[in-house]
C-alpha cells in the first residue's frame, strides 16, 4: 500500500511543478521591441516548490487526511434541515423568503447609494436566474445562450424609447413578450435536439444575436450602443434633477422635498424588487400547475412522460418561452438602470454566470437561487480591492463548490411522501 501511494504522490508533485513552473516562473516580457524570457523572483520559485511539497505530502497521507476529515461534523448549516418533514420545510422556506422580501423593502433607506445600486444588480440576476431555472432546473433543457433573451429585452426597451419615445412601463411588457416570442420562434426548431446538442445550439444562438446587434449599426448603433435610455417614472413623476419629458413633473417638486439622486436609485431598486417578487410568485405558481409537473416529468424521464401522453414539444416550448419572458423582464430593468447598453454586456460569460447561479442555488429551488445570486454578484464586488485575483478566485470557487457541494446551496425538494425506511 505504501509504495504505490509514494509513487503516486511523487508523480503528483512533479506534475505540479511542470504545470506551475513554466507559466509562473518564466515570464515573457517585452524589452523594447523584442520578447525575452525572464526568470521570476525567488519567492515565486520557492512557492512553486512549496506547493509541490504540499501536494506531495497530501497525496502521501491522503487516506489518513481524508479519514480524519470524515470524522469531523459536516460543515453544513442546512444539514439538519434535510431531515425535516416536508410540510414544515416548505413553510419555513416561504417564511424565510417573505422575511427576506420585507427586509429588502426597508433596507435601502439605511445604506449607501453604491450598495443599493449593487442590490439592484443582484435583483436583476435573481430575475434572470429564476427564469433560467425554469428552463434548466425544472425542464432539464441545457440552455447556454440565455443571455440572448436578456439582450432582446434590453434592446427592445432601448430601441422603443429611442425611436418611439415609449416609457419604461410600456416597454416592460413589450420587451418581455418580444423576448418570449424569440424564445418560441428559436425554440421551435431546436427543441428536438437532445442534451448537449441543444446546449451548443443555444450557445450559437446567443452569439448570433450578439453579433447581429453589433453589426446592425443602422438600427442598434452597433458597438456604440444606445444611450439616453429614460429612467422609469412614478405616475408621470421623474426622478432626475430636471424633467426631460414634456408633461411630466419631477418627483422632488411634487412632494416639495429637495432633490436627491438617491431617490432615483432607491426607486429603481424597489421596481426591481417588486418585479423579482412577481417573477418568483408566478414561477412558483407555474411549478404547482400541471405544466410545471409536466416539465419535471419530462426532465426525469422523457420516454415515460411521453408515453403518458405529454406532448414533448409543447412542454419544452412552454418552459423555453416562459424562461425567455423573464429574461426580457430583467433586460428591460437592466437597460433602464444602465441608461446605456451595448453588445458588450451580453457575452457568453454572462450566460455562464447565470447558469452558475442556477446550479449553485441547487437547480429548482427558489431560495437557493436567491442566495446564489447574492453570493455570485457580491463576492466579486467585495473582492474589487484585490482586483487582479478576483476572477481567479471566482473560477476556483466555482470548481470547489461543484466538488464539495454539487447539490447546490439549497437543493430543491419536491413535495413527496416518504415511506419510513425499514431497518
Amino acid at each position: 500500500m505504501a509504495t504505490p501511494n509514494f509513487k503516486h504522490a511523487l508523480f503528483c508533485a512533479i506534475v505540479t511543478i511542470v504545470i506551475a513552473y513554466p507559466i509562473l516562473g518564466l515570464n515573457l516580457v517585452a524589452e523594447s521591441t523584442r520578447v525575452i524570457v525572464e526568470g521570476a523572483d525567488t519567492t515565486t520559485v520557492i512557492s512553486v516548490f512549496a506547493a509541490a511539497l504540499v501536494v506531495f505530502l497530501f497525496q502521501l497521507f491522503r487516506d489518513r487526511i481524508m479519514a480524519s476529515l470524515g470524522g469531523l461534523p459536516k460543515l453544513n448549516p442546512f444539514a439538519d434541515r434535510e431531515h425535516m418533514p416536508e410540510s414544515k420545510r416548505a413553510r419555513l422556506e416561504s417564511w424565510v423568503l417573505t422575511g427576506i422580501v420585507v427586509l429588502a423593502l426597508f433596507w435601502p433607506f439605511f445604506v449607501s447609494r453604491g450598495s443599493v445600486d449593487l442590490a439592484t444588480l443582484v435583483l436583476i440576476y435573481i430575475m434572470l436566474a429564476l427564469g433560467l431555472n425554469v428552463v434548466v432546473g425544472l425542464a432539464g433543457l441545457l440552455d447556454l445562450g440565455y443571455v440572448a433573451f436578456y439582450a432582446v429585452g434590453a434592446y427592445t426597451f432601448a430601441l422603443l424609447s429611442q425611436y418611439a419615445g415609449v416609457s419604461f412601463w410600456m416597454a416592460l411588457p413589450i420587451g418581455a413578450c418580444l423576448a418570449a416570442l424569440f424564445g418560441l420562434v428559436l425554440g421551435f426548431p431546436v427543441l428536438r435536439l437532445r442534451g448537449d446538442y441543444l446546449a451548443i445550439v443555444t450557445l450559437g444562438f446567443g452569439e448570433i444575436i450578439r453579433i447581429l446587434l453589433n453589426n446592425w449599426t443602422a438600427l442598434t448603433g452597433g458597438p456604440n450602443g444606445i444611450g439616453g435610455i429614460p429612467d422609469p417614472t412614478l405616475f408621470g413623476m421623474e426622478f432626475g434633477r430636471r424633467v426631460k419629458e414634456e408633461g411630466n413633473t419631477s418627483f422632488h417638486d411634487t412632494f416639495g422635498i429637495a432633490y436627491s439622486s438617491e431617490h432615483k436609485v432607491i426607486f429603481l431598486y424597489l421596481i426591481a424588487l417588486i418585479l423579482a417578487v412577481i417573477t418568483a410568485l408566478i414561477i412558483r405558481r407555474f411549478m404547482r400547475m400541471p405544466v410545471g409537473r409536466a416539465w419535471e416529468a419530462l426532465r426525469e424521464d422523457e420516454i415515460a412522460a411521453r408515453s403518458l401522453g405529454l406532448s414533448r414539444t409543447a412542454v419544452k416550448l412552454s418552459a423555453f418561452t416562459i424562461g425567455a419572458f423573464f429574461a426580457g423582464f430583467a433586460g428591460t430593468v437592466f437597460a433602464s438602470k444602465q441608461g446605456f447598453i451595448s453588445p458588450e454586456s451580453f457575452v457568453f460569460l454572462e450566460s455562464a454566470i447565470i447558469l452558475a447561479i442556477v446550479v449553485l442555488g441547487g437547480m429548482g429551488s427558489q431560495l437557493g437561487v436567491v442566495l446564489a445570486a447574492i453570493a455570485v454578484t457580491i463576492l466579486p464586488e467585495l473582492a474589487r480591492e484585490f482586483s487582479d485575483f478576483r476572477m481567479l478566485v471566482f473560477g476556483a470557487a466555482m470548481v470547489l463548490m461543484m466538488v464539495w457541494r454539487p447539490q447546490g446551496l439549497m437543493p430543491m425538494r419536491r413535495t413527496h411522501i416518504q415511506l419510513r425506511r425499514q431497518e
Binding site: S32, T33, G114, S115, D117, L118, I257, Q338, S345
Partner: protein
C-alpha cells in the same frame, strides 16, 4: 420616515455640499477609474502612471488651495456594467472630481451618473464624439475626438493620391468611429474606397482578410482599432506579400506592435498626438517619469497627467471646490499643461488638439511625416 427627514436636512443645496460637509479631513479626493485588469489593462497602466505622477508632483508643490490631492483608484475592466458600479462607488466615496474612464463605452454610461451627481469628469482617453456631445456641464476631456483624428488621417492619405484604399476596423466604438471618420474624409476627397469592413476584436486569423486586401489591390489600408489586431494583420500581410501602406490611429502606436509584427511594422503610418514627451518644456517631467522607471511615451500618460493638473488649476482659478464653479473656470480660462495650452469650448472639448502623422519603425521609434 426618519431617513427622509435626514435627507431633507442634508440635501439643502447641491449634493456636492453634502459630500464635502460630511468630510472632516481637508483632502481633495480625485477618483481615478480605468481598467487595471482585462484585455486593455495596458492602456489603463498608462493612465494610472500619469495620474499618480501628477498627484505626487502637485502635492509636493503644496497641493491645491493648501489641501492635498488624494487618489481613489478603481478598476472598471472597461466593461460598461462595471463602469456604472464604479461610478456609483465613486459617489459613495464622496469623490467630486474623476479622471477617467478610458474606454468610450465605459465613459458614456458613467458620465450620466457623474453629471447627475454633480461630479466633474475629465477623461484622458475616450475619443468618441458622443461623450461630450450630450450637452453635459461637467464632462471634459484632454484628448482629441475621433472626428478630429479621422480627417487628419484621411487628408494625409488623400494627399498621396492613392488609386484605391481599404478601410478595416475592429467593430468597437473607438475603431469603427475613427474608421468612419476616415471614410467620410476620403469620400469627400473623391478617393475610391475598395472595401470598408469590420473584423472581430480578439481574433487571430486574418488570412482571409489579407487575401481580400491583396485581391482588391489597394495602395493604402487604414485600420481603426488597437495594436494587437493590427500587428497580426501587418505580419500576415507581409507573409502574403501585400505591398499596401498601412495606417492606424493612436491606439496602434505603442511598442507592443513591434513585438507582434516584428519587421512588418516598418513604415506603418500612425496619427498621434504630437509626442509631448519630445517637447523641450516637458523634459523635467520626462526625467521624473524615467526616474520612477515608467515610460512616459504612451499616448495616455501625459493626457492623464494633464487631466489631474486641470482639476487642480481649475480649483485654483475658481477659488472654489464646487465642481460647477470649477467647470465654469475651465471653460473660461486657458491653462498651461504638458499637452500644450488647453482651452475648452462649450461642449467640454479642447478648442485645438493637434494630431500629427508619424512613420513607425521596426525598432519602435517614430519620425514625423509633415
Amino acid at each position: 420616515m426618519k431617513t427622509s427627514v435626514k435627507k431633507i436636512v442634508t440635501a439643502v443645496g447641491a449634493s456636492v455640499a453634502l459630500m464635502s460637509a460630511g468630510q472632516a479631513a481637508a483632502d481633495i479626493k480625485v477618483g481615478i477609474a480605468g481598467p487595471m485588469t482585462g484585455p486593455v489593462a495596458q492602456y489603463g497602466d498608462m493612465q494610472f502612471s500619469g495620474v499618480r505622477m501628477a498627484i505626487d508632483q502637485i502635492n509636493k508643490a503644496g497641493g491645491v488651495m493648501g489641501e492635498k490631492l488624494v487618489a481613489v483608484e478603481m478598476d472598471d475592466v472597461c466593461d460598461p456594467k462595471q463602469a456604472v458600479t464604479v461610478a456609483n462607488r465613486m459617489v459613495n466615496e464622496g469623490v467630486q472630481y474623476v479622471v477617467g474612464h478610458l474606454c468610450s463605452s465605459s465613459t458614456q454610461p458613467a458620465s450620466d451618473i457623474y453629471e447627475d451627481e454633480g461630479i466633474l469628469m475629465i477623461t484622458p482617453a475616450s475619443t468618441s464624439p458622443e461623450v461630450t456631445g450630450r450637452g453635459y456641464e461637467l464632462v471634459f476631456r484632454t484628448i482629441g475626438l475621433d472626428s478630429m483624428q479621422g480627417p487628419v488621417a484621411g487628408n494625409y492619405i488623400a494627399a498621396q493620391k492613392p488609386e484605391r484604399v481599404a478601410i478595416v476596423h475592429d467593430k468597437q466604438q473607438y475603431g469603427e468611429g475613427i474608421a468612419t471618420a476616415v471614410r467620410d474624409t476620403l469620400k469627400d476627397a473623391g478617393v475610391d474606397i475598395a472595401m470598408f469592413e469590420g473584423i472581430t476584436a480578439g481574433d487571430k486569423d486574418f488570412s482571409s482578410l489579407v487575401t481580400k486586401i491583396k485581391q482588391a489591390n489597394v495602395d493604402y489600408v487604414y485600420y481603426g482599432g488597437y495594436h494587437p489586431e493590427l500587428g497580426l494583420i501587418l505580419r500576415q500581410a507581409r507573409q502574403s506579400d501585400v505591398d499596401a501602406k498601412f495606417m492606424g490611429p493612436e491606439g496602434v502606436g505603442n511598442k507592443d506592435i513591434n513585438t507582434i509584427a516584428g519587421e512588418a511594422a516598418e513604415g506603418l503610418l500612425v496619427t498621434l498626438p504630437p509626442s509631448f514627451d519630445q517637447k523641450a518644456e516637458n523634459q523635467q517631467l520626462i526625467k521624473a517619469f524615467n526616474e520612477k522607471g515608467e515610460d512616459p511615451s504612451g499616448p495616455f500618460v501625459l493626457t492623464s497627467y494633464a487631466a489631474v493638473q486641470l482639476v487642480a488649476d481649475g480649483i485654483e482659478q475658481a477659488q472654489s471646490k464646487d465642481p460647477y464653479d470649477v467647470a465654469k473656470a475651465l471653460r473660461s480660462g486657458s491653462f498651461q499643461t504638458p499637452i500644450g495650452t488647453v482651452q475648452y469650448d462649450k461642449a467640454g472639448d479642447m478648442k485645438s488638439f493637434e494630431f500629427v502623422v508619424y512613420e513607425w519603425h521596426s525598432d519602435g521609434s517614430k519620425t514625423p511625416m509633415n
